[in-house]
Symmetry: C2
Subunit: 659 residues, 2 copies
């Protein structure tokens, strides 16, 4: 109990010091933390990136002080000052756990339920890598994924998607610890959350360990000992806890959830817990008992020996596993995709037939050389495999997954796969249904992890499925997400450049946007071809004096080209700028930007089958945008495009209107 109280006190004192935060859950979870981190978790505080460590995710991320406290007490590179500076500018201990800011934080959590789905991704990565790399006599990938979830996580829809899939996939090394404290922010949960959680998880094919007294270390220890003996199903451990445990007046109440207890109540809690130490002081004997550095070193050393034996017996597998866990791509991985792009460009330039394609098909063509060269590339689709074309020709069964109609879980599981290491996932759905998964895309961008999102059916050209399936505002949404790189290629060659950038990325996640309908391939010379990688470039130079610039992305590039031809015949020197990735274009040096879009040239028109707002930063007050600022219609795709004004005529008119 003293050990748990050390954690409890750190949580309440840090929140009090910050005058902000969530003391209740860490206090309720303190006993579980003590047993889990000291007795059960396979980890080495000195080596937080050890490949075969257990992964632990705190899905109820507001309980961050629980995680920081456990990391500090077990001996991670976290100083007591880091806890004193909880929630302050520049501190390792952000309000919610932020991946990359603090050692031992496996993923950024806070948006509820997503950590749980990340954990499913961790466990899936472990399962996949184990199948690929373990041998009968060598188990070098053999760790568990632990995830702590609160009531809020289990109310969120994503918990359903992820749990249902985890049950189906038999992720036997996944263990969820349910902090069943019966309280959420609005109070006792009965009036809004009275489902039978254990029965629900059993319906998903999980094993459930019920009724563990979460304030009793022995009961917790017994429960976790049961949990680690897998029967092949994922396991849910239901721990009954008291939020704010120890606080005489706030324990078990919503008032312990999201605000400091207050100095008086903290004093009362110290008395009630018989905890005499000052704030942020943990007696040395307890620090010693908590310290997991020796145990961790032993665990990792044991594994190192195991890995050495494996490397002796299977040197190639060991080398390959190391490469993948270190996040290095195979040498020469991008030659095939570059060759494909160059050959395609040559075929286009020579006027060969058969090179026109829907860019979703282009994407699939790119996946073959990439998939063959990069064995960690792993695709999936939210039940639209044949529409997203995320499975490439010849892909083995273990290189692609049907996630079911679960966009959000799929995307968050992808984040977990990337975070685990060893797998480079991409996953597809229709662009408009990105919205179902939206916050997972944001978290990938926030964490700066190179997840890849494939979004097909990119505009009203989707056609008959109608406005529910026709994106309008989604491109802008992606492009305004900090740190996300968004490509909307106009043809197969741009698609190949986009795909290469996505796979090459070490940090930025990528959104790759593809068309349902066939687009016209564009001829390019060598310099133009090379400029695609800058995100925006002069695709067609003006004849004579520059009279106007038309910029476009994706399937609208051909409208821009056709309008330019017509305007050129009128004697206007029109330049066509292809903008497959305007955000990347804006990151180029200013001289390049000014070369493509001369500052003095104000006769600028942007064309895109999506909302116009984003393009005004390129066309300004004197230019025009041919976009779609309303919802689409159900009609064949070409008719829908015409009905929305996406025509060459309208582009020509726009140029006339602003000259």
């Amino acid at each position: 109990m003293d050990r748990a109280n050390a954690l409890r006190a750190l949580a309440m004192d840090a929140v009090e010091k910050a005058a902000s935060g969530h003391p209740g859950a860490p206090m309720g979870l303190a006993d579980l933390g003590e047993v889990l981190w000291r007795e059960v978790l396979k980890h080495n505080p000195a080596s937080p990136n050890w490949w075969d460590r257990d992964r632990l995710v705190l899905s109820n991320g507001h309980a961050s002080m629980w995680l920081y406290g456990c990391l500090y007490l077990t001996g991670y590179d976290l100083h007591i000052d880091d806890l004193i500076n909880f929630r302050q500018l520049g501190s390792k201990t952000a309000g919610h756990p932020e991946y990359g800011e603090c050692p031992g934080v496996e993923t950024t959590t806070g948006p509820l339920g997503q950590g749980f789905a990340n954990a499913v991704g961790f466990a899936l990565a472990e399962q996949m890598l184990g199948r690929e790399f373990n041998t009968e006599d060598h188990q070098v990938i053999d760790h568990r994924t632990w995830v702590v979830v609160g009531d809020g996580c289990l109310m969120e829809g994503i918990s359903h998607e992820a749990a249902s899939l985890a049950g189906t996939l038999k992720l036997g090394k996944l263990i969820a610890l349910y902090d069943d404290n019966n309280i959420s922010i609005d109070g006792e949960v009965g009036p809004w959350f009275n489902e039978d959680v254990p029965a629900r998880f059993e319906a998903y094919g999980w094993r459930v360990i019920r009724d563990v007294d979460g304030q009793d270390a022995d009961a917790i220890s017994a429960g976790l000992k049961l949990a680690v003996v897998s029967d092949g199903r994922p396991t849910l451990v239901c721990a009954r806890t008291t939020i704010g445990y120890g606080s005489p007046n706030k324990a078990g109440k919503a008032s312990a959830h999201g605000a400091a207890l207050g100095s008086d109540e903290i004093a009362r809690t110290r008395l009630a817990l018989n905890w005499g130490s000052d704030p942020f002081v943990v007696p040395q004997n307890l620090l010693d008992e908590w310290c997991a550095r020796d145990r961790g070193a032993d665990l990792e050393n044991e594994w190192n020996d195991r890995f050495d034996a494996y490397a002796q017996a299977y040197p190639e597998l060991a080398t390959e596993l190391a490469r993948r866990m270190e996040g290095k791509l195979p040498s020469g991985w991008n030659k095939p995709i570059r060759d494909f792009a160059k050959l395609t460009q040559a075929a286009i330039n020579s006027g060969e037939k058969g090179v026109a394609a829907a860019t979703r098909k282009s994407s699939q063509m790119c996946l073959k050389p990439l998939g063959e060269a990069v064995p960690e590339l792993f695709g999936g689709s939210a039940d639209l495999t044949g529409s997203n074309l995320t499975r490439w020709e010849g892909a083995a069964d273990d290189r692609h997954m049907s996630f079911g109609v679960r966009e959000f879980a799929m995307s968050a599981i992808g984040n977990g796969l990337v975070l685990h290491g060893g797998i480079r996932p991409f996953s597809g759905t229709f662009l408009v249904f990105m919205e179902y998964a939206r916050n997972a895309v944001r978290l990938a961008a926030l964490m700066q992890i190179p997840n890849i999102f494939v979004y097909t059916h990119d505009s009203v050209a989707v056609g008959e499925d109608g406005p529910t399936h026709q994106p309008i505002e989604q491109l802008t949404n992606l492009r305004t997400t900090p740190g996300l790189s968004t490509w909307r290629p106009c043809d197969t060659v741009e698609s190949a450049v986009a795909w290469e950038a996505a796979v090459a990325s070490k940090k930025a996640p990528h959104a790759l946007i593809f068309s349902r309908q066939t687009t016209r391939p564009q001829a390019r010379d060598e310099a133009t071809f090379a400029a695609i990688a800058r995100g925006g470039y002069v695709l067609v130079a003006e004849h004579g004096e520059l009279g106007a610039v038309i910029m476009a992305s994706g399937s609208e590039v051909e409208l821009a080209v056709d309008a330019a031809v017509a305007l050129t015949s009128e004697g206007i020197g029109v330049r066509v700028v292809s903008m497959p990735n305007p955000g990347l274009f804006l990151m180029q040096d200013q001289s390049y930007i000014d070369q493509v879009l001369p500052p003095a040239m104000r006769a600028r028109v942007a064309v895109e089958a999506g909302h116009s707002a984003y393009w005004y930063r390129f066309v300004g007050l004197d230019g025009a945008v041919v976009g779609i600022d309303r919802f689409g219609v159900s009609a064949p795709g070409d008719e829908a495009m015409r009905a929305m004004g996406m025509t060459v005529e309208r582009v020509i008119e726009a140029v006339h209107s602003i000259r």
Copy 2:
């Protein structure tokens, strides 16, 4: 069987004619359709807006031909030509059912799972209105909500959120019909969806009627007869069906799901079903058997008598119910909120203390006069009631609901409440978690229904909770959603104007964005006060010659005002434009727009603690935006704002940089 085959044939023939669509589910559901629409559903084809009709939602909206077929066959205002023109431009029969385009379509569906949540909203509205208006001897609100769901709907997370809540709320008149055909787009669902759906729903507190043979009219009839006898729980009827039933080669296969069967297979299906009629021809005897106009007239007449008796006994209740179901606001409803706004403005202008407030608090203050004047106003929060401040002082328990941590279901349930009629909901969460519910906001905008979304904690000023909780790109996302009206008020007075606009709206949904932190109230004369309603207006006029315009929204208006003061003292005539609703401002007549933002004045700066992209349409290539194009930080709110450059100094610098 002939009756069902009529529906089956219409579905396969319409999809064939359109060469686009989903024949499989309608064919599998044909027998259920026939029993449900003819025997069980309380509806009157001649009167699709009858208040006490049963509501039927096709959550698997891709099966739209099932709905259109049933509507046509039972006698709604739908001509056979409408079916022949399935999925064509301007037709009533869009690819997915579109609310407002076709009589009998209760809600727009297609984005999976949302129709199910809409149905929970319908059933909740019925429950609430029944409790409010029914008397012991008069049941004038007494109808059921039916919702057809497919495997895809049940995989989606929102199905969990909505079902769990429906079980908790004991929505006994909600009946879900599960089209259990074991197929989704990627094939037989086993590898990605093998949960025990009945057990899952029982865990939610639903009654489950299992194993109904969905191809056997007698079994269906027996199942539905059980279903309509409520035991107080919502009911799930599991109907085993065969996708594409009747097609010799495609029945039971994914190939029947989302593409026309093809003329050969259709010929074979005609033979197999012994269906001799030509495409789009239904024999008159079958049309007669399907026709529900007489039955519907009887049902409605019976209810009319019931309502007349009620109106005799309780004339005031009847009048009030009629007002609410007709969507008319009480006369004089907006006087109290206007008075509140005027009094507040007067207090500000006279320099009274205590009028500064966080705009979330302003919002709560507005809710009191609105809530008291508009009894149909009904609030809720996704477990952030005390943070969103969606419950007003004195609100009765039945005027506000805790939805639990279920942003998506809450928003889609709100759509259902609006669609049902009689309730005007608003619901709150943090702005950043709008993303969890994003597609429901889009559907409200697409349907043009006046749902109200309250989003608090609107910027990095959220502070310590850190970047996961700090919106950046969300404002732009909302503002680029066609048909959505988005307000971000700077003080209590602008908040009141925003709230009045939201409640007054007959069609456009509103997003109301409020701050966590205190904002400074702004003085205004009468004309300035009146101009708030235009979405953008001159808050502070320039001294002397106009030298620059600074525009801002929300909490950044005070930065603009302070910068203007400083710049004025430098001799620059700075105008401050407050832009609480830039989309609305853009809808004003051009002369007003040009008056506020003179076209020749290019020294324009926009200030907002959010992504800059949206503002370039106002500042152009020669202006500047002081925005935040990166993720935030965990730190106290004022420090976070400074760290992100949201300072008066930076605004002043920006003005200098562009003059």
